[in-house]
């Protein structure tokens, strides 16, 4: 059947043709509360996640600087922190050792879950999925709103726990029992731990609601022509992230619920043979290693929940700003799929020293090392995309390249740690800290910053200051390496992580100067983030007005008005005719061809198989469908 369309349309694809007047009229008459607070619009929800994420990032970063002061300057008088920390500063002007553990725990929890899971996935999955696949909104706006408010409730509880007299949870972000299960063990395992568990349960609900929505939207709500092989890599990354979330977060929920029963109801899933003050506890027959299995079954996929969105964002930004098609589009998807699958069968590499069977250890070691293959494919593709490109060094691009650098540096140490034999020496040392802060922490954080710089014009209709962005990048990039590179040496020398102080042992006094350098670099890096904060908030209100398509990108979000209203496109949703990476196509007029341009309009640059596509569609010109100027809606 002939399916040649005659579109009589009012310029659906206006790229850079100056639609600059404010399209800000709301399509539904909502008041302040329904528009900005209890909004069901995916763009507002994305921004809510972003602002909350920035708040948590600032808090999490500040906590780390406080404990870095202790590690870098063990003799320093911290009396001046008394107005903020109150009783947690001892009369001698020192940080309370138990509070040090609470700081480490909360830094980890906040950064992994509240910043790099909710702040990253929540922001960009919500904001970009409907815009880039051509949908009016998420599959369920109401569930999406619930997702944010569960996250908010979880945030409030976690925040309250910081102000408890007994302090927040202090058993490490992995909350291993029995330390986390027994209030007698450490003050933080009292009410602080209870709040931690309740907050995390709410967080899991939020994350699942979000993930169900993301998957459902990507599969069912794509615009005409948006086949899976025409999806931007950002969407592929968010899609895999959501699948991993759906499969792994329930397991953390299962683990946390059993821990709640052990703590508050007296069961013994994780507890056995514990003596306190010579008295045996009633708990008998449990196994703490069981918790580790359940926890790391989430915990390892969680690493990729954090990392994949950042990799997707950087794929998009690197292709756009290299003005070249992404190298190996299908290899990128394939490697993300492979990483997602492998992420579920490597969890025990976190447990090599729990006394597990060495044979089992070598199986997990083999599976772990295989992850290097898809990761290397991704790095290779980033570099080959950059190779001989017309690189535009926007702040977003700089941060994306920074991500590739961290991903490589941190990934290589992963090969060391994945070896069950070497892990005996390196386990729980600063080598591990250096490894995961580079490969997952800093890389994902850079992905998040890259995404903010790149999509800020779409979020707020204004541009961020480029110069300040570049200054922010260079200080942060150098700062991060100065913080985490020395930690490799400290770790190989055998320094264990989570220790309050090493001054008691003469052996460990050798690296005092290196620790001081790390702490200074950490302060510098945190300070640089205030440049970003200023740039971000100043530009929301005072930034230069953004053009319709500031980066000359191909994806659909740049076909919306400058400030897209509810429903994203004022008229019909544009259809998609090509993949999103037609940059610098030989023969083309411009160095980019947006996805909304049909092949029939670009005969000069079509490849043979693309010309085939046009012929196939217009074999007989008999039933030409003439559609009116106002086309019927998409649904």
């Amino acid at each position: 059947m002939a399916t040649t369309d005659i579109h009589i349309h009012q310029d659906v694809h206006h790229h850079g043709d100056g639609h600059d007047h404010d399209h800000d009229h709301e399509h539904h008459g909502g008041n302040f509360w329904t528009t900005y607070i209890f909004s069901e619009d995916h763009k507002i929800i994305g921004k809510q996640f972003l602002i909350t994420g920035i708040f948590w990032a600032l808090l999490g970063g500040s906590l780390s600087v406080i404990f870095r002061l202790q590690l870098g300057f063990p003799d320093m008088n911290l009396e001046w922190l008394k107005p903020i920390l109150g009783g947690w500063i001892t009369p001698e002007g020192k940080l309370d050792p138990e509070f040090y553990l609470a700081l480490v725990t909360m830094h980890g929890t906040i950064m992994v879950f509240f910043v790099l899971t909710a702040g990253l996935s929540g922001t960009f999955s919500n904001f970009l999925i409907p815009l880039q696949i051509g949908a009016r909104d998420m599959a369920s706006g109401f569930m999406n709103m619930l997702s944010y408010w569960f996250f908010f409730a979880s945030s409030v509880l976690m925040f309250i726990s910081l102000f408890l007299e007994t302090g927040p949870a202090a058993g490490g972000w992995t909350v291993y029992p029995p330390l986390s299960a027994l209030p007698q063990a450490i003050k933080g395992s009292g009410l602080g731990m209870t709040l931690w568990l309740v907050a995390m349960a709410l967080f899991i609900v939020s994350s699942l609601l979000g993930s169900i929505n993301y998957i459902s939207t990507v599969i069912n709500m794509r615009t005409r022509g948006m086949s899976f092989t025409r999806l931007p890599l950002t969407i592929w990354a968010f899609f895999f992230t959501a699948i991993i979330g759906i499969l792994s977060f329930p397991v953390l929920f299962a683990a946390a619920l059993l821990l709640i029963f052990d703590r508050s109801f007296g069961t013994s899933f994780y507890l056995s043979d514990i003596y306190i003050g010579g008295e045996a506890l009633a708990h008998d027959g449990g196994s703490p290693v069981l918790f580790q299995h359940l926890f790391w079954f989430l915990g390892h996929p969680e690493v990729y929940i954090v990392l994949l969105p950042a990799l997707g964002i950087s794929s998009e930004i690197i292709a756009t700003n290299s003005r070249k098609p992404i190298f190996g589009y299908k290899a990128m998807i394939g490697s993300m799929l492979f990483i997602a699958i492998l992420s579920f069968i490597v969890w025990a590499h976190h447990m090599f020293v729990t006394g597990m069977n060495p044979f089992l250890g070598s199986i997990f070691m083999l599976l772990t090392l295989i992850i290097a293959v898809p990761s290397a494919v991704k790095i290779f593709n980033y570099v080959t995309t950059l190779w001989k490109g017309n690189i535009v060094f926007t702040p977003g691009m700089l941060f994306s390249i920074g991500l590739v650098s961290f991903f490589l540096t941190g990934g290589i140490t992963g090969i060391f740690l994945g070896n069950s034999a070497i892990d005996i020496q390196l386990h729980d040392t600063y080598f591990v800290v250096a490894h995961f802060h580079l490969v997952m922490g800093s890389a994902s954080f850079f992905g998040m910053l890259a995404g903010i710089y790149h999509w800020f014009p779409k979020m707020f209709g204004r541009m961020m200051n480029e110069r300040l962005g570049q200054i922010h990048f260079w200080i942060t990039f150098i700062g991060v390496y100065m913080v985490f590179f020395p930690m490799h040496y400290i770790g190989i020398a055998g320094f264990p992580r989570r220790y309050y102080s090493w001054t008691n042992f003469e052996t460990f006094s050798g690296f005092a100067d290196l620790n001081m350098l790390v702490s200074l670099a950490a302060i510098l890096t945190l300070a640089a983030q205030f440049i970003f904060l200023f740039n971000f908030f100043y530009s929301i209100w005072r930034g230069r007005l953004a053009p319709a398509n500031p980066w000359n990108a191909n994806t659909l979000e740049w076909t919306t008005p400058r400030n897209p209203g509810h429903g994203n496109w004022p008229g019909e949703i544009p259809a998609v005719y090509r993949w999103p990476y037609d940059y610098s196509k030989p023969g083309a007029k411009d160095d980019f061809i947006p996805q909304t341009i049909p092949f029939s309009e670009t005969p000069e640059s079509n490849l043979p198989h693309e010309t085939e596509l046009i012929k196939l569609e217009s074999t007989s010109g008999d039933d030409i469908i003439i559609q009116g100027g106002k086309l019927e809606g998409n649904h």
Binding site: T4, I6, F253, S600
Partner: protein, 194 residues
């Protein structure tokens, strides 16, 4: 407005299904992972030393029968709705709801039987705690299933479920069958791994 006529190739509409139904399947996937985690933990724990064998309450057999019959009446309800036989639909959904509530009461009585067998949630061996966690968490999901059934029942009584409007009933049926199969899995699992 400039009207220009262009002849372009057609953009194919991508494959898609009802997003709500799809969301339900994703939700069921999360429930599978939740119980998958617990039953895996159960197997791991059972391999440890000092595992104390469990005696399952007889009522579990009865309750399994009840929930299986309720799946049957659910099938009947969907068939009745497809044939637009409103009376049968109301009766079938009504019976399913009553059986669902009966299952919940039966599970509570089964807990009593376990207590009588000196199998307590706390204080005893882990194996006993596991039975309470598995059946209790399943019971909570059944409560949500009964709520969905009541919603479907009200919709059926008001005549809002018919051949042209099957979504509510079909989603209700999918979830209810899922809960039945989930219980069957848990029960057989416990029988095989006492």
């Amino acid at each position: 407005m400039a009207v220009d006529i262009k002849i372009v190739e057609e953009a194919k509409r991508p494959l898609s299904m009802n997003p709500r139904k799809f969301g339900l399947w994703l939700f069921m996937a999360t429930v599978v992972m939740l119980f998958g985690a617990w039953t895996s933990a159960y197997i791991v724990k059972r391999g440890d030393m000092g595992w104390s064998e469990i005696i399952l309450p007889d009522l579990f057999w009865v309750n399994t029968g009840v929930i299986l019959i309720s799946s049957g009446t659910m099938v009947w309800a969907v068939r009745a709705a497809r044939r637009d036989v409103a009376e049968q639909l109301k009766i079938a959904v009504g019976i399913t709801t009553v059986l669902g509530i009966a299952f919940l009461i039966g599970q509570l009585l089964a807990f009593d039987q376990m207590v009588a067998l000196h199998e307590h949630f706390t204080g005893g061996p882990v194996s006993h705690s596991f039975v309470y966690v598995l059946s209790g968490a399943h019971g909570l999901h059944v409560i949500s299933g009964v709520i969905v059934l009541v919603i479907a029942l009200v919709a059926a009584l008001r005549g809002r479920i018919h051949r042209g409007n099957m979504d509510t009933l079909e989603m209700c049926a999918t979830y209810w069958h899922f809960l039945g199969v989930l219980w069957l899995y848990l029960f057989v699992f416990l029988l095989l791994n006492k």
